[in-house]
């Protein structure tokens, strides 16, 4: 338990710039864990038990869908809210079906992401 108030957010995004952007947008007040691909994301998820996961779909190696399936099959992180972000058109339905809680289309409005993250974390508290 590193600081009982700070919630942990796992960001899984292969594009360095976007990963940095997401971190900046979500902002201070959270403990951010970053992964550049699917394998890393799964390892970090089981290690850190994040309160929320922001996941890109299109990544080299294991895709975001594979990561989603693994996360949803893992009892320890099964209930963790997952926000899927993708630049692919028409990926929303598939992502929600695969177990995502929310879907954000890239490019995205930073405030929109902030709102979603806050509402999901607030909902998870109740």
């Amino acid at each position: 338990m590193q600081g009982s108030t700070a919630k942990t957010i796992l960001i899984c995004e292969d594009d360095d710039n976007l990963r940095q952007l997401i971190r900046v947008v979500i902002g201070a007040g959270y403990r951010i864990v970053e992964a550049g691909d699917g394998d890393e994301a799964l390892a970090l998820a089981s290690e850190h038990r994040p309160d929320l996961i922001v996941l890109d779909l299109m990544m080299p190696g294991m895709s975001g869908f594979d990561v989603l399936r693994h996360l949803r099959g893992d009892v320890s992180v099964d209930g963790t809210p997952i926000v899927v972000m993708s630049a692919w058109p028409n990926a929303q339905e598939a992502a929600l079906e695969a177990g995502a809680d929310r879907y954000i289309q890239k490019p995205f409005e930073p405030d929109h992401l902030t709102e979603i993250v806050e509402s999901l974390l607030a909902g998870a508290d109740e």
Partner: protein, 497 residues
Amino acid sequence: MKSWSLSARIIAASVVLAVLVAGVFAVLIYAVVTLDNAREREAATKDVRTALVGLEKLVIDLETGLRGVVLTGNPRFLQPASAARREVPRRARELERLVADSPIQQQRVRALRVAINDYVDDYLVPIVTLAQENLAAVRQTLAAEEAKRRTDDIRRSFNELQSTEEGRAAASAASATTQSRRAIVLGVAGLVACALLIVLFGLYLARSTAHPVREAATAATRLAEGDLSVRLSERGPGEVGELTAAFNHMAEELERHQRELQSQNEKLRESERRKSELVHIVSHELRTPLASILGFTSVLLNRDAEPEEQRRYLEIIDREGRRLSDLLNDFLDAERLEEGHLILAPELIDVARVVAEQVRLFEGQSEKHTLDMVLPPTPLNVHGDANRLAQVVGNLLSNAIKYSPEGGTVHVVAEQENGVVRVSVRDEGLGIAEDQQERVFVKFFRGDAPASGIPGTGLGLTIARSVVEAHGGSMNFKSDSGEGSVFWLELPTAAAG
């Protein structure tokens, strides 16, 4: 006379039938005419017989008159003889007319007339004259041979005429019977032959016309129902053969057109599918840098940040903006290559320097990859467009990194041998499946990359190879799935200037 047309065959058969029917009728008409002639002949014989009997009666009248006068001495008895004497020439002429068709009979009639005349002139008249003077002497004479001889001659003539005439009538009747029988046999045989021929002709027409026409109709129906493989036998005579040949030609053409349409359709569908895939790729490839640009711009505009951070964000915006610009240039390049409008600005350049610069640019981009570069001590001079060749080398490096997601070493070698400058880039990545290798340089082809989540447009290698080829060089690769790939380009060396 190779092969008769169907109409020629039908006309020929009709002519044969018509000739046969006409022949049969001619034979039958001939039989009727023959019978008619025989009946006429019989009638004529009857007339001749009647005339002969009439003439014979006159002769008997003459004889009887003569006997009466001689026996009684009474000239009254001579009256019928006188009438007969007047009558004889007329009757004889009539008889002569009746036998006009037979010269022998005519001659006989004439001889008979002469004999009767002689009998009258040389015997009857002198006897009658004598009887008025010396009846007794006459009576003696009458009994003599002379009288019997004369009347016997006349009678024999009558008999000859009679029997000849009967013979003629019998011969004519017999010949008429034979001929009419023969005609009836011929006629019946002809009619049977006609009937058989008509039936055969009908069968032939049915077989050679109706049957193929029905087959053609059935085939046309099947064709209309979509079975384009249907064909007819082309062995029919004349026009039927032409019809079936034309039908088959039509079916072949239809089938060919349909095949063409299907293949065009498939091409269209494939191009449609690729276009929609392209739209996906483009939108993804554009949205990723756009997301950074818009996102950081929004952060800069709406949130507070340290000047140092601001600068870092602006650098990202700048870099991603350039990435977008490069992407658009790739699309434009692909378009230009398609139209053959690639413009080069060639100068004498050192390929080793171009390679070194690109390797330096990519070195910092990936933490997982090590770039290992081997360059010769001397410059690798070629005539070429430095920017374009840098784009090519950059593409090979970018691919080597992208397609080895697990990381590893990328080996870059630039060398010169036998007047050829060669640059090769080898990775330890995914490699290319054998069945996809021949399409590696095809525009927009990305193999398994989209499924593996590797971004890209499928344009890089297409452009790279075109650029190298525009320099008079060549580009190729070797790859084993799962063991990585090596891509190389070869350019003609330029003399050092």
